[in-house]
């Protein structure tokens, strides 16, 4: 489990920092560029000219230059990573890990929903500086960046400013697959949906959750009246403007029994979406607090999951299963699974050491230590046929 922020071990700045966002550079990645770059020191004589220096060990801090000693848990950072530092130098937060295949950029912690299993519990406070940081981050990333995710809270809270950010991203990172998570309600305003589509980025997709086939269940899960009706309107509008849309269904105790009905609802009413992601629960945030209401062993919904996939995939809706250990789901569903847990969250159970499909399985969230299935069991070698583990 990798930490993403912490308190600096020590720091010495001659003046408050004039910028928050910094890309780390070292000897091997040194170029004449200095703007927005901070040098990552691990030798005697670091080069001159940088407005900020980061060091792992305060003992090695460069003399006569402004420096921050990284929080101990952030010493894994390497050149190409991007951090934000507080004005005084006291706090450091990781914004981008160059080596990670999937980076998600937090745009806000504010949200108009309050999902019972939320992994990023909402906070009320004004945090538009996160949006500002995101802008600076995009300006620092290499133009060949392959993918970027935007999450919250609810990013569409920013309205037009979000659209501007996405346009910036589209222009500066033309090769990046952009994935934005949203509850979709803002798109019920057709003007906003149109503006979204006008960003014109064919690599951009929005992921929107649906937790019921009708309002009562969905509104309960997201703890907001009228949510289902508006979210569905939003998805319809996105379909009308031909914006790429994914529907996500987090499977937990409340939604698992309704999974076939939800699948049928999507297949019949929203078949134009690009894909449907059926997702396993991450045991953090509210999910942990509400464990009694949301925890269910995935083997207990094997049937519902198989039925849901059948109802969607056979009628031509692209379906994917995320965050499920392979030993817990029917073998015929393995081709639908995706190794989706980002690497810093990956952990394995002792049972997995003997498993013949460990390379293919997504493993666990770190948070699985709080609760995971009682039925984790290694798949004996030879029992998995090659076609069971072909990726989607």
């Amino acid at each position: 489990m990798i930490t993403l922020r912490g308190r600096s071990a020590a720091f010495e700045l001659d003046a408050p920092l004039t910028r928050a966002v910094w890309m780390l550079v070292d000897r091997d990645t040194l170029t004449p560029q200095r703007h927005g770059r901070a040098f990552l020191v691990n030798e005697e004589e670091p080069p001159d000219g940088f407005a900020l220096y980061f060091v792992a060990d305060p003992e090695c801090a460069p003399v006569g230059k402004p420096w921050i000693a990284l929080p101990p848990l952030l010493r894994y950072l390497v050149a190409g990573d991007v951090v934000s530092a507080s004005e005084t130098g006291e706090y450091v937060r990781v914004l981008w890990r160059h080596k990670s295949p999937i980076n998600s950029v937090l745009l806000t912690e504010r949200c108009d929903h309050y999902c019972v299993m939320c992994s990023q519990p909402p906070k009320e406070r004004e945090d538009a500086w996160l949006l500002d940081n995101a802008r600076e981050l995009i300006r620092l990333l290499p133009s060949s960046t392959a993918g970027i995710g935007f999450t919250g809270g609810e990013p569409t809270i920013y309205g037009d400013r979000l659209i501007e950010l996405l346009r910036l991203c589209s222009n500066l990172l033309p090769d990046a697959d952009v994935h934005v998570l949203s509850n979709g309600r803002r798109f019920a305003d057709f003007g906003f949906a149109s503006a979204w589509a006008r960003v014109g980025n064919p690599r951009m997709m929005v992921g929107i959750p649906i937790y019921g086939a009708e309002p009562t269940l969905h509104d309960y899960v997201v703890q907001a009246e009228g949510a289902f009706d508006e979210t569905v309107q939003g998805i319809v509008n996105l379909g009308e403007v031909r914006a790429r849309t994914e529907i996500r269904v987090v499977i937990h105790k409340q939604t698992a029994p309704a999974l076939p009905e939800i699948a049928e609802f999507i297949a019949r009413n929203l078949p134009f979406v690009e894909q449907v992601a059926l997702m396993g629960l991450e045991m953090v945030g509210f999910a942990r607090a509400n464990m009694d209401e949301v925890w269910i062993d995935p083997v207990d919904y094997r049937t519902e999951l198989a039925e849901a996939v059948s109802l969607l995939a056979r009628r031509g809706v692209k379906t994917m299963i995320y965050n499920h250990q392979l030993c817990l789901i029917d073998r015929e569903l393995w081709p639908f699974t995706v190794r989706s847990i980002s690497d810093w969250k990956n952990e394995y159970h002792p049972e997995c050491a003997k498993c013949s499909v460990i390379e293919r399985c997504g493993g666990f969230f770190f948070s699985a230590k709080y609760r995971h299935s009682d039925h984790i069991a290694a798949i004996p070698s030879g029992s998995a046929r090659r076609r069971d583990v072909l990726p989607v």
Binding site: Y114, T216, L217, D219, Y220, D229, V236
Partner: protein
């Protein structure tokens, strides 16, 4: 956590449910309910009473099912009407895409003499019974006047390969015109394969022409239906299918069966015959009551109830094959399942409403007459010109498509306004067949209580719904067929 509200607080404030349009039929003590776009639920009698009398609570498993299927809504809900409108629009989209199928009867000549055949002349008089190039050109003019983005040109007869030269010309000229039009253009030859030469196959391969042929089943059955000098119709068909598949690819060769009284006890043998030839789709067709079939009394031998046994047994066998991992599609069921399980309209001309005549398909006869459907042409051969829409040499596209001969049957047979059909819960799965009803009862609408078309279709719908709900393996197969 105290900040989280319980599920109860998200229920509607009052049980003031509004009904959304629906229809119902009582089936064996339960009630089938369908919404405007054919989504269905089967309810217990008491559940249905709760719905009908609006005695529904604010929340219950039944309430959630009905709400999800757009049968009820709360006054404030917006998405149900938006979604029903979206689904309705999808279902009717094909109307804007008329006319998709253009049938060119390039020759009436044929060397078989099948008892149920509606047309055909045993003759070598090409002048009299072959379509001229001039007529074909006019047919192509009409074809490209259709707004449809996808156009299929089908060559029929008699035996169309007896006028293969014209087929070549039509294909070339259509391709030429399509360079400016950019339609999705397809061709198919409906042939008995007896005359399938290498030259024909080469041409089909080069121009992506599909082959459709008749295969009624095992040799004795097929040959009995299709007398030919030499009595070897089946051998020629089988050989032709194999050669065509090898030359054109399996996707471009299909077989259609015709059902006669002799077929009715042998459905499994017929399916096996298709399988042995590597064909993975079969259409369990009822016998149409037209042409020589009525003349030679082979229609009077036809028994609706026996055909249903034939269909149900054939379907059971095909489902069993699918369970064993042998892919096999039954096309009639698949058309209906598409209408039941998706919002798409498969455009099968005999099962749509408004009817497929003119809108879905149109026929240009060898002599330049234009007919609303293949069956309409067959009636004309028996002396009844009711479905003749005009003539290519004298009438324009507009005149033909707005002729009384076309509009009257379309209007009169329109199911949603027809007695009994307008109330029928199965209507979204069904269609109008004005030609059938005209041929059997004398008017375009028919009298549904007496109509074999109605009885047969209802039995099929009930059977498919029953299997869908009670048999998980059938359900999986049906979903795959519907999604094709």
């Amino acid at each position: 956590m105290s900040r989280f509200r319980q599920l109860e607080s998200f229920r509607p404030d009052t049980a003031q449910w509004e009904l959304l349009p629906f229809r119902f039929e009582r089936l064996n003590g339960r009630v089938l309910v369908t919404n405007m776009v054919g989504e269905h639920v089967t309810l217990a009698a008491e559940e249905f009473n709760e719905l009908a009398e609006k005695r529904l609570p604010v929340d219950s498993p039944l309430v959630r099912r009905l709400r999800a299927k757009h049968l009820i809504r709360q006054p404030g809900d917006r998405s149900p009407s938006t979604l029903l409108a979206l689904k309705s629009r999808t279902r009717y989209r094909r109307l804007a895409e008329s006319t998709g199928l253009h049938i060119f009867v390039v020759s009436l000549r044929c060397e078989h003499s099948c008892p149920y055949c509606q047309v055909s002349r045993q003759s070598s008089d090409k002048e009299r019974y072959d379509m001229s190039l001039e007529t074909a050109e006019r047919g192509l003019d009409m074809t490209f006047r259709s707004p449809s983005s996808a156009i299929k040109i089908e060559f029929q007869g008699g035996e169309p390969l007896l006028n293969f030269g014209l087929i070549e010309e039509i294909v070339r000229r259509a391709e030429q015109r399509n360079r400016n039009e950019g339609r999705n253009l397809g061709f198919v030859i409906a042939t008995n394969l007896a005359l399938l030469t290498d030259e024909v196959l080469e041409f089909c391969a080069r121009h992506n022409v599909h082959i459709s042929t008749s295969l009624d089943g095992p040799a004795d059955l097929h040959n009995k239906n299709r007398p030919r000098p030499g009595r070897n119709s089946w051998e020629l068909a089988v050989e032709g299918i194999c050669r065509a598949r090898e030359a054109l690819g399996v996707e471009r060769v299909s077989a259609l069966m015709t059902t006669t009284k002799a077929s009715l006890d042998r459905v499994r043998e017929i399916v096996d015959c298709y399988l042995e030839l590597g064909l993975h789709g079969i259409f369990l067709r009822p016998l149409s009551p037209y042409g020589f079939a009525i003349k030679t009394k082979s229609y009077s031998a036809y028994d609706a109830e026996r055909w249903l046994d034939f269909y149900r047994d054939g379907l059971a066998y095909i489902l069993e094959l699918n369970r064993r991992g042998v892919p096999m599609t039954e096309y009639l069921s698949s058309v209906i399942l598409t209408k039941m399980l998706t919002n798409r309209e498969p455009g099968y001309v005999d099962l749509t409403s408004p009817a497929g005549i003119g809108i879905g398909a149109i026929v240009y006869n060898y002599d330049g007459s234009v007919y609303a459907s293949d069956e309409g042409r067959m009636l004309a051969e028996m002396g009844d010109e009711t479905f003749r829409l005009g003539h290519l040499a004298t009438d324009t596209y507009e005149e033909i498509l707005t002729s009384e001969a076309l509009l009257t049957p379309l209007e009169e047979s329109f199911a949603p306004s027809a007695p009994m059909c307008s109330d029928c819960a199965f209507e979204p799965f069904c269609g109008s067949d004005p030609v059938y009803h005209y041929a059997t009862s004398g008017d375009f609408l028919g009298r549904k209580p007496e109509s074999d078309f109605c009885r047969r279709n209802m039995a099929i719908f009930k059977h498919l719904l029953d299997l869908y709900e009670s048999d998980p393996s059938a359900r999986s197969t049906f979903l795959s067929w519907a999604g094709r």
